[in-house]
Amino acid sequence: MVTTSDTESIQVEITPSRYLMPATAQRLLNEIFGNGGIIRITIHGPNLPRSVPYGPGRGAPIAENRDLLIEVAGQAFELCVKVGRIRLELENETFLPGLKAACERALPFTFQMKRGKFFHTRQTITDYAKYGKVEDTRILGLIDPRAKKDRMAVLSEVQVTIDDKEER
């Protein structure tokens, strides 16, 4: 019989049945934060470019995708994706029921919650090519391997880093 420890960290993926508007995403993230026990968290979804990336309208601005500011746990940041999936690591299993209740409070529709392994633990070649040797391994799995390096936004308790100079 395999016994699992309830003191080990667990990874969870939350998939709402609809894509979230910024206000709902903010409410959900704040509820999740209020539940506590988060080691790391990432939001995932389709890209929201600031201008038309290709085609005859290339370069035309997309005003709807600009200034999508949300404030989570007192830190404001700009959304670059339509929030469709949230992956997070919790300190231990005791935070799981609270997380489910937080999602139920914040989301007006159904959602799926899965436990599994969603962050990789070893550096990939892409990670190495882009960032060199990653000292803080918590960052592994939080980085979109296809995103440009200057597009990365990392929020931590210390500071907010948003490198997004260019309009695309």
């Binding site: 894509y19 389709p46 990336p53 085609g55 005859p56 309208g57 997309i62 709807e64 339509k82 007006p108």
Partner: protein, 255 residues
Amino acid sequence: MAYTPQFYPGSTSVGINRRKHMSGNLEKLRDIPEADVVAIMGHRAPGADYSSTHPPLKEMGEPDCPIRQIVTPTAGAAAGDRVRYSQWTDSMYFAPAIPYWRSYWGAINCKGCDPGTLSGRQIIEARERDIEAYTKAQYDSEMTDVALCSMRGCTVHGHSLRLEENGMQFDMLSRTEMGADGNVYGIKDQVGIPLDRKINLGKPMSEAEAKKRTTIFRADGVPMCGKVGARKYDEAVDALHHMWELRSKWGFRPE
């Protein structure tokens, strides 16, 4: 007895809808002004002249050809219009049309058009004034739900993604938006260039209405086999098996 084409087998609601799409016997749900359709297509400004690739056929002096005498040219071909396109993306979440059925509709009912079917989008090319009429017919009929279907010349992804909170199909370029009054508004043309005014496309279908009018078989809607637990599969599956058999067994003839 006069022959009536059957188009598609099956007695499920999806089978019936597919027959309706192919026959062109569609219900008209809305009336979007022609100028608005032209603006969303984005090929010419509403009211502007049509650009042409050749002089009108009457002025050209056509060669003596029996086929040309039999076939009446379309309005666009007679005037020598350029070939233009309109491209549609239909959500997998019970959109009324799907690429294949837009193509069947075009190929069967629209003269002088070239439908192209892709996994997530469907394009029809035709002479400009013809494609404008065909696009308006698609917009006005039950083939289109303004929330689940949209005209997208580029960045078409969204058909296989979850819907947005307000029930709209996801669009990276935000070409349409849900207004506070519950109507869907077109704010950009099909390639994402902002329009000078908002175009009211009307109210979207309810979820139940979309499921009623859809041509998509889905396990959580109407499955292709028909009623779950029925003693016999729906005719659509029988016909599909029959076609598969003909293609697989007798299509292969090494000689």
